[in-house]
Amino acid sequence: MSAIHCRDLCKTFHQGEEEITGLDHVSLDIEAGSFVALVGPSGSGKTTLLNAMGGLDRPDSGEIVLGDTRIDTLDQGELADLRLNRIGFVFQSYNLVPVLSARENVEFVMQLQGVGAQERAARAEAVLAEIGLEGLSGRRPAELSGGQQQRVAVARAIASEPQLILADEPTANLDSHSATQLMELFVHLNREHKVTFVMATHDTRVMRYARRVVSLQDGRIESDQRTPEAVE
């Protein structure tokens, strides 16, 4: 069963008079529960594809189906609801809300979903404990290391119980140790929660963990390889 299906996606950007190809007839089918890395050099279209899959940006043409929902035709409000309830995001720069504590950052998305205060707090504490941040839930982002912040960002992404987590260069700002820990966490969550992971990266450390590596170049899929030897 497909977690997300992209068919013939095209996207161009305009920079002054120059036209840049973001996606050039990209078709991709990602099965539920898979662990996929989108790789390629800067400007290859990884982030553009990730944004399109996450409903953050619209393709110029083509269609995207998340589960059983075609998302490229949804309006902004429907896309916001879709992102809130079915997709989790992990960004390169963590992007936590600086004035909220780790727990409040995790609770924030749940509050938007309408989860009650008690359940929110309990779930947030449980998720933070699962990712190894018990005891740090009251700290604000500035009081956490980069790796810890990225873990909180992951906790925020999984707290809403999404079907799909999209991670854009999640290890780019992390040292080697933290990057390894994060990837092990991703693998754990993928296995335990059956969440589909799609990561845009050019970090070879990440690629080692992916069970499928899709390589992009100039907005096109250059290769699509299954890697049974991925680190478990």
Binding site: N51, G54, L56, D57, Q76, G77, A80, D81, L82, R83, L84, N85, F89, F91, N95, V97, P98, V99, L100, E104, E107, F108, V109, Q111, L112, A117, R156, S160
Partner: protein, 409 residues
């Protein structure tokens, strides 16, 4: 507090110095507005009190149509008795009957047309401030017969002083020629040229005799315990008037329409000044919130990416402004109330005011009006102005696209 409220509150203190500067501007403006509006309302109250206590009173009973055209025959019958009866009505503190006519006043050297008023000396002192303005001689007394007090300019024009005689010639109630000689007993000096040039008062009983009025007069003046009750008391007084005499009860606003107009025009000019203050504060809030929104564009982009709808972002900014405005409002009202309460106890004055006020028989100090209106009108307007100023930054967020916003530096 839910996370949105918590977020709004904490966002406010990200740049605490900037927030305090904006709050400071609001507090200063609110304190100033509370003080100015309280003083303004207090001075209006004083202006109304002084103007009405000079002559008009808070309410008058007249013959129907007398206000529009003062005719000798439009009288209030048994006026003194009616005045006594009306003095018993609730909230009525004092009453006095008056009669008015135009006459030619002549001294040995000069003649002038004057408006002569017949008054009940003992009662007039309770409804009018003129008796307290006598600068030479004395005011009329109970038992005076052919006595008269004149305004200082009128006396100068007639070249008379206390002890001199003035001959009065006019037309009686019955159309006959009325004439009388009265001795000047006092000179009124109000400091107002219009008053000092025109005022001439004689005892009502003598007036009625000279002008063949019998027991009639032209008005009964009422002073109430509270001037604000006047409009409400009109129906009560009207109901107590003798039926079939075509008498009407009129409140001070009907008797002196110019007074409210003067207050209204003063209010307009004052509110123009307050408006400038409020706009300045609103611009300060606009600057703060716009800066705050612009520097958080990336963060807002992330929130949109997480599934927050743009409208909720707009509400977040408005909530921050509500917190900002409430702090400014509460501190401003508290500080303003302290200032106003101080002046309520000790009065407000400025150098030279007491001397100037004494000349016009006015209180030497202005006392602010302490009321919910004077305390909250200005600050609430500032609060609304601040909210209005935050609408633009909030509206900007509605157009925000997550990807573009997350690219913002």
């Amino acid at each position: 507090m839910n996370i949105t409220g918590l977020l709004a509150w904490r966002n406010l203190w990200r740049h605490s110095r900037r927030t305090w500067l904006t709050v400071g501007a609001m507090v200063f403006c609110n304190t100033l507005l509370v003080f100015l509006i309280a003083i303004q309302l207090g001075s209006y109250r004083m202006m109304i009190d002084n103007t009405l206590s000079a002559f008009t009173g808070h309410l008058q009973v007249q013959h129907l149509g007398y206000l529009e055209e003062q005719k000798m025959r439009q009288t209030v019958p048994e006026a003194a008795a009616l005045a006594s009866r009306l003095a018993e009505e609730p909230h009525v503190e004092a009453t006095a009957a008056r009669a008015v006519t135009f006459a030619l006043a002549s001294s040995e050297q000069r003649s002038f047309g004057i408006q002569l008023t017949g008054v009940q000396p003992a009662l007039e002192t309770q409804v009018s401030s003129y008796p307290g303005l006598v600068s030479r001689g004395r005011y009329l007394q109970q038992g005076d017969d052919a006595a008269i007090v004149l305004g200082s300019i009128l006396a100068r024009n007639l070249k008379v002083a206390p002890g001199d005689e003035v001959t009065l010639l006019g037309s009686g109630y019955d159309g006959s020629v009325a004439a009388g000689v009265a001795t000047v007993v006092g000179i009124i000096d109000s400091g107002l040229a219009e008053v000092d040039r025109g005022v001439a008062q004689a005892p009502l009983a003598w007036f009625q005799q000279v002008f063949a009025l019998g027991d009639r007069a032209h008005s009964v003046v009422l002073r109430l315990d509270d001037v604000n009750r006047a409009p409400m008391l009109v129906p009560q007084i009207q109901a107590s008037l003798p039926v079939g005499e075509s008498l009407v009860a009129l409140d001070w606003d009907q008797l002196q329409p110019g007074l409210r107009e003067a207050i209204r025009s003063d209010m307009v000019s004052a509110w123009f000044m307050y408006g400038v203050l409020i706009v300045l504060v609103a611009l300060s809030v606009l600057n703060t919130q716009l800066m705050s929104v612009l520097e958080r564009t990336r963060e807002f982009g992330v929130m949109l990416a997480l599934g927050l709808r743009p409208q909720r972002l707009g509400r977040l900014v408005l909530l921050e402004t509500i917190f900002l405005g409430l702090i400014g409002l509460l501190l401003g009202v508290a500080l303003g109330a302290l200032v106003v309460l101080y002046f309520d106890a000790y009065g407000f004055s400025y150098p030279g005011m007491a001397e100037a006020a004494a000349r016009f028989n006015l209180p030497p100090r202005i006392y602010p009006q302490v009321s919910l209106l004077s305390l909250f009108l200005g600050p609430l307007t500032v609060f609304l102005g601040a909210l209005l100023a935050a609408v633009y930054p909030a509206l900007r967020l509605l157009r925000l696209q997550p990807v573009a916003a997350m690219r913002a530096v």
